[in-house]
């Protein structure tokens, strides 16, 4: 009874907001460079990822307190949280893949986390989907951890941190998009990208390496988030 009630309450608020956010972001990411007649542009994966992280944070922000007020156990919070994170992650991953598809259709050259896998290599789109889901999952869980860390710090701090994070990320990525700066984007990140199996500096992608990394990170962050909720408290002041 309580798990359904909590799910329903949060789905109506957080999930609905997230759909709007992600769709809007995707439209802007694709639309802006096209408007400016860029041909090769990097897709703001990171912006979508931040949206998803924000969704994770919102789940904690909006969900934990009302759960406690209504006698919901932490165990139920974890279950409902997991059930809500799945559509959130799927939404983010779908956005990545959809942006990819739309841009290709238009005839432009998108550069994104999933680009190397969508064409060519046998089973490519499957890797694309897997990596997109794992990456979005990581960000969603990071958002949850962020939300837990923010608890007790007050509304103002939380709002400020969110605003700053978004602004910084938005400025960085926005600039890159407007300037169509895919080469610099790739050059700066060559070493880290190679390390985790993403294509860089002429070396082709090693999706299995990237997958392993993401799985490991997901497991670690997921465990931290699990423990975080298991110990969460409320209402001290």
């Amino acid at each position: 009874m309580k798990s359904k009630a909590l799910f329903r309450s949060l789905a109506g608020t957080v999930l609905v907001s997230m759909v709007v956010m992600v769709v809007t972001t995707a439209i802007v990411i694709v639309g802006l460079p096209l408007l400016l007649h860029q041909h090769d542009f990097s897709l703001g994966d990171l912006l979508i990822a931040i949206d998803v992280a924000f969704g994770g944070m919102m789940l904690i922000d909006v969900g934990v307190d009302q759960a406690f007020q209504n006698g919901v156990t932490r165990r139920t919070m974890r279950r409902v949280g997991a059930a809500l994170l799945l559509p959130l992650v799927a939404l983010g991953a779908a956005a990545l893949l959809a942006m990819q598809a739309v841009v290709r259709l238009i005839g432009a050259n998108p550069v994104s986390l999933v680009t190397p896998y969508v064409t060519g290599v046998f089973g490519g789109p499957i890797w694309a989907a897997v990596l997109a889901v794992l990456a979005m999952g990581l960000f969603a869980l990071l958002g949850v951890l962020g939300g837990l860390a923010m608890r007790g710090r007050g509304k103002r701090v939380t709002t400020w941190v969110s605003v700053v994070a978004f602004t910084v990320a938005g400025l960085l990525i926005g600039t890159a998009m407007i300037l169509g700066d895919t080469t610099i984007h790739a050059a700066v990140l060559t070493a880290p990208r190679l390390a985790i199996g993403l294509p860089a500096g002429g070396v082709s992608a090693r999706p299995w390496l990237a997958t392993l990394w993401l799985l490991a990170l997901d497991a670690l962050v997921g465990w931290l988030a699990w423990r975080g909720v298991a110990q969460v408290e409320t209402g001290a002041k």
Binding site: M1, K2, K4, A5, L6, R8, S9, T13, V62, D65, Q66, F68, Q69, N70, G71, V72, T73, R74, R75, T76, E233, T234, G235, A236, K237
Partner: protein, 288 residues
């Protein structure tokens, strides 16, 4: 009958030991006052019952089963405190509906009556209400949930006197109609003295008094008169405090020897619950 039982409950925050072994029982269908100085741990104790924080050691049970992470138990317990835990942008009507889905019931008729009595509309968004009205909104919810144990932590904080009186009347009205356990933690002792049946005093991290109010007041006395006579009258009787002025002595005791004849010149006055509490917890020190 159901009861909530505390067995050696302790709570430590870092270096601070807030609860040092609380033992108590809250029975079904009774109204309790939970009294304690600021920082005594009343809120902490209630939050432990409601699974909002964990005890460091000890057990809190409902019908013998631990309340920790126990949703069946938590479904029968409700805590109203000054913490505003509802989403701020939600209307009261939405909150009532949420509460109904969470607890499997909600007294809509009573809610309508209370909204009217307190002059509040259910279309109001809780975050936009003044502090006082937010409290009233939470109070209304607390009185309408189908829970057997309703804990109220400073329920009338910020309410003006007429609103407080209205609340006490409505509390008793719904209690008379559907008896359940209410535990009221409050500093306004005089105001609740008549409406509670039992009193628990939390001091020094423990429950130092757990008794029904009539019994406690029956033997609590302020004894005044010539020092020699008072001292003789109160021989062997534990005294909480003595006040000397010249040759006169005033003594505060919980256990006046009423069977002894009262010497002429010595007067006995009753102590109300607030005076009793002040004397009982005098000299208690709190590290902040």
């Amino acid at each position: 009958m159901s009861e909530i039982k505390f067995k050696n409950v302790t709570k430590r925050y870092g270096n601070k030991q807030v609860l040092r072994g609380v033992n108590a029982t809250w029975e079904a269908g009774k109204i309790y006052a939970l009294l304690g100085r600021n920082g005594a741990g009343k809120s902490t104790l209630m939050r432990i019952v409601n699974n909002r924080t964990f005890a460091t050691s000890g057990a809190v049970t409902l019908d013998g089963k631990s309340v920790v992470e126990n949703e069946a138990a938590q479904n029968r317990i409700f805590l109203m405190s000054s913490a505003q835990l509802y989403p701020a942008d939600r209307r009261l009507s939405w909150l009532f509906a949420l509460t109904r889905r969470m607890y499997g019931g909600f007294d809509d008729a009573l809610a309508t009556h209370l909204l009217d009595a307190f002059e509040l509309h259910d279309t109001a968004k809780i975050g936009q209400l003044s502090t006082g009205y937010q409290t009233i909104a939470r109070l209304i919810i607390a009185l309408c949930v189908p829970c057997d144990f309703v804990l109220l932590d400073e329920p009338v904080l910020g309410l003006d006197a007429p609103a407080r009186e209205l609340f006490y009347q409505e509390l008793l009205a719904t209690y008379a109609e559907r008896p359940r356990t209410f535990v009221i933690a409050t500093h306004l002792i005089e105001e609740v003295a008549d409406l509670v049946e039992n009193v628990n005093v939390l001091a020094g991290g423990e429950i130092v008094l757990a008794e029904d109010v009539a019994t406690v007041l029956a033997k609590g006395r302020i004894v005044s008169g010539p020092a020699g006579l008072v001292t003789d009258y109160l021989r062997d009787t534990p005294v909480m405090r003595k006040q000397a002025l010249g040759g006169m002595l005033t003594a505060y005791t919980l256990d006046a020897p009423l069977e002894r004849p009262l010497p002429a010149g010595v007067t006995l006055a009753g102590m109300d619950l607030q005076r009793l509490f002040i004397e009982l917890t005098r000299g208690e020190r709190h590290e902040k």
